[in-house]
Symmetry: D2
Subunit: 347 residues, 4 copies
């Protein structure tokens, strides 16, 4: 069992690590215990968003110095998510997930588990990637002491093939449906790659998958609550039916003992340390029967509209804007919606 702590730092630019490095210098975070870095940057979150590679390099360079390793080696060791696109109210920030000391207690608290494995190039975006993802998620849950019932977030960094159109969607689909099978949400036949990007009714309720083009390593991080976990933190998740599903967000907070009616009060809002969500423009072309134009705007990409919407939805219920909202939500929540996971700190 790996108990973990969660830290959040504001970023004044994609290369601003001042809060993070101060915490490293102060010993608040031990660099060798870091399991994951989640970063929301101010790029466009699309093909030509170089804030991702830039922030990724800056993060790895800062850690490499302290760990006396090559920056490239850290990519394998730490699950790094740099998500571009801080539309609307979304505020760029960094979330650090790091191992915490064993509690010696059997009370439940926040735990993490990780697993990774290289996949054959031919497997990318195919059933085989999904099967391998299923195995990694099971291994990570086992390591974390989590069951499908207690797992609240599955983060998958899926290898994709930039040279093939549509392959990012397929890679995300394989990762999400692989997670759904591991969690018992779907049967094995959901991994059939003919369904990827097509059978939108198949989805995982708590997989956050990103497709990346920097190698063939598939990485998984799971988070949940288990005996022996860090009691200072809690986590919950839910699917969101659409980009205005405020009751869905309030429901997650209610599970965490917080009441948003319509919004958390400032003290409760401060306790929300990490928010991570997926959502695209509703495929139906409408929100509750009313037409949206996010998908037919050739000046502003659909994903930028959708992140602005989901970011404001979350922020308006939670009461602050440090929300990591990401597009490319295929099979990650229902077709017209998405999902969110929220981590709170117990004061």
């Amino acid at each position: 069992v790996q108990p973990v702590a969660v830290h959040r730092f504001p970023m004044s630019a994609p290369d601003d690590l001042s809060g993070f490095t101060a915490a490293l210098d102060a010993g608040t975070i031990a660099p060798d215990r870091i399991l994951a870095l989640w970063c929301k940057t101010e790029g466009n979150g699309l093909r030509n968003d170089w804030t991702r590679a830039y922030a990724d390099l800056v993060l790895r360079t800062a850690l490499a110095r302290r760990l006396d390793k090559a920056a490239d080696a850290l990519r394998e060791r730490i699950a790094i998510l740099v998500s571009g696109g801080s539309e609307g109210v979304v505020s760029p920030h960094l979330v650090v997930i790091a191992g915490a000391p064993a509690t010696g207690s059997s009370l439940p608290g926040l735990v993490a588990g990780t697993a990774a494995g290289a996949i054959p190039h031919a497997a990318v975006g195919m059933t085989e990637q999904g099967r391998l993802a299923t195995g990694l998620v099971r291994e990570a849950m086992r390591q974390a002491g989590l069951t499908p019932a207690t797992t609240r977030l599955v983060f998958v960094r899926a290898p994709s093939d930039a040279a093939r159109a549509g392959w990012d969607t397929r890679a995300r689909a394989a990762g999400a449906l692989g997670a759904a099978v591991a969690l018992g949400e779907l049967a094995d036949d959901a991994l059939a790659d003919t369904a990827y990007g097509v059978r939108h009714e198949l989805f995982c309720s708590r997989a956050f998958v990103v497709a990346r083009h920097d190698g063939l390593l598939q990485q998984v991080l799971v988070l949940g609550e288990a005996p022996g976990g860090n009691p200072a933190f809690r986590i919950a998740h839910a699917t969101l039916a659409d980009p205005i599903d405020a009751p869905g967000v309030a429901g997650i907070l209610a599970e965490l003992g917080l009441r948003a009616a319509p919004q958390l009060d400032p003290a409760a809002s401060r306790r929300v340390v990490a928010v991570i969500a997926k959502g695209d423009a509703p495929l139906s072309g409408a929100v509750r029967g009313q037409r949206h134009v996010m998908s037919i705007d050739n000046d502003v990409a659909m994903h930028r509209h959708a992140r602005a919407a989901y970011g404001t939805l979350l922020a308006s219920v939670i009461g602050h804007t440090a929300c990591l909202v990401s597009g490319g939500a295929e099979h990650q929540g229902p077709a017209d919606g998405g999902f969110a996971a929220i981590i709170t700190r117990i004061d």
Copy 2:
């Protein structure tokens, strides 16, 4: 006293008047009783947004045919607002405000008043425009049987000068501060034009001002509740502190007897017939202390980010996406926020 009814129609495109013309054909709306048309289109809402002129022409052409008048003449008679920019979840739609039969009752209900006057070109964006706006708002309130206390929305269509940089801001400032003086929210010296776009602490809590370049007519429409008004409709308003001020929105609904905790239920949501709001990206560069990047994005204009945020805020509390959100909120609500007015139908 002019009792009014409010109708809303979805638009499948900037030139889709099918719902509206069906209501005209069916006699549900009498064309000669129309006081105002509010339209949200899917343009960019910025200088090169031609959906506004297009929808305006299509609307006037449709009415001109029925009223046997020149389309140009209708611009003076009806307060037409075509607001471009349906970012995020915002759904394009048309709102029609039309005179309703006298009730013969002294119970309060929705009323409207209008006033208009040409202003000298030299007055545009100057103290004189503000003074004239004050007079028009007073005249419209008098006509409607409204007092400052019962007036809930002041719509001003302010003439501006496209050839002078910054003049739209000045024209909106003059209209908003002129309304604030008429409503007793600010003293006369708030009209000093040196404050326009500078002293952001001066604002009107319920003025919605647009700057237009099609002549020198300044038009005002006021809405509120007064004895003899249409009891089938209610209206309320409030300022919004920032783009995630869900409690502010819920407060307006509470005044109307509706509870959003965090969101109206479907039946209550359907009763919300019109939502009209103003808001820009917070001038402070932050939302509740957390940096936003809406104002430093050179790919997507600030106003597009801000409308996406305010639109989602309103929709996530109200439960539907037919919200008319507009940028250019100078002196219309607090510097980091804006304001909203909501009209409900009594079932």
Copy 3:
């Protein structure tokens, strides 16, 4: 034989017809002799470009008044092209092609021919549309007294299906390849619809095709030089190998007796009355072996980059910026390039 004259008017906005209506009022252009209107507007030229519908409506309304017809009826009678997107140096303008008096001479000059026919919905984007286009082009050439050798431009307004993804490309392909067969550039089997958008080596050297969603009428206009044509105008065309093919543009001008080395002198430049071209970003991803990024930019659409490039190419050789450049150049010139036609006035 229909001799024609060509007029060009600058446009200060998509609804500015002042130059055109002045010419109508002055009798310079007889409204009932107008065969085609080509308009370049300042929209984005993509799905959500409403300047096209707006300019189209304004043009038809202005003519309907003078012709005492319904505006809608004019769509069938006049081949209207409103092309959005005035990127880079491109200047919005209107070109009018109108019938001129018979010359009574056998000397060659500018002639036009038109043909149109409704197509079944099922034919859109299929071989059948291509075959029908072939027939229309032959009929228009016959009417104009043109042969494949003397035809310089085939304008096709092709019906498409907005509801089916990729259908605009197919509709343009059918129109272009249909023209190529009529011109003897390709054999009948080029109409096989399996090749549409796939076999880029199949193309027409002088077809300008637009896909529109306003009905099922397929319209064709051909221009060329024939005995009895208007000797005051000349026309030539050529394919362009890529977006920097200045020699290709200079070659067209050389056919017209004008020398650009590197640019026409002001007197010669003034003689260029109409320029109409097609071009997309090179499919190979490179221009003469050097990578371009037009197709991987998610902030600015590929077509906007490409029109900026082709517009500047043409303007820098011709010496003025009233060039109608359009994207969606599938099968209209070589895969990495496009084509242009130029009309000059003899002083």
Copy 4:
């Protein structure tokens, strides 16, 4: 006298240094002799373009490894220009200017000179910055053995203040007018800072100035031909009257013995090793009297339109697309135009 050689490498991404590092590994370029690095990346070239900082970091990191220095120290030593924005045909690439062995000859050839000095913060964008720039340019020319007559390019990296609106323009103005005074093109009183961004008739014909926010060092690099220079390279420059000034570009090539009528042949085109130019959208709102819409498009920034235009202009005359075109051309060429410098290799 510092003879120099010029190398150019294509870049497949902002972090692609493969060509450059291969040349370093092969010894073709000695890292300790590098004087300047010019890089054109595929960002938006505006405030939120992080490809610049990213490429800058990657370049300095690669060199720091080989020079055994801190990456930060290299910023002072090497004049690094990372210019974002590869609109239209422009191809991302890297140009390296490096010292070459002394020739021992008195024949003229390519030479460079550099100078740098920190300026007080209060001097930024003021007359004092201009005066200091004048001194640096004189020092760099002296070092290079150049006179005003033989200097062909003055590159200035000017410190600016990101926190003050309009200061980038002022910093570029000071740098450009400072260079103009050093070159004898303008009298000392041109440095009056009241003219910055206002008196557009004051300009330098060969200054390329960028404003940067990474310190207070003002850096100057001059290039020209002088006795003892590298005879393998030649350089020339000229102002461009507008974005379609093909004769202006051809004139530069003619000075270099190359004929473009309208375009260089492939062999001559290959000899053009570096092209560096400045240009904005014409301030008059028109190109040769015809309206452009580059400055009133709120979807695509003016600079992106302008770079697309100048890039295509240069490429269509030169015959290849590795042209470094930059916006922010205040006082760098005439108000409606810009300037270009071209370096050729003697085969």
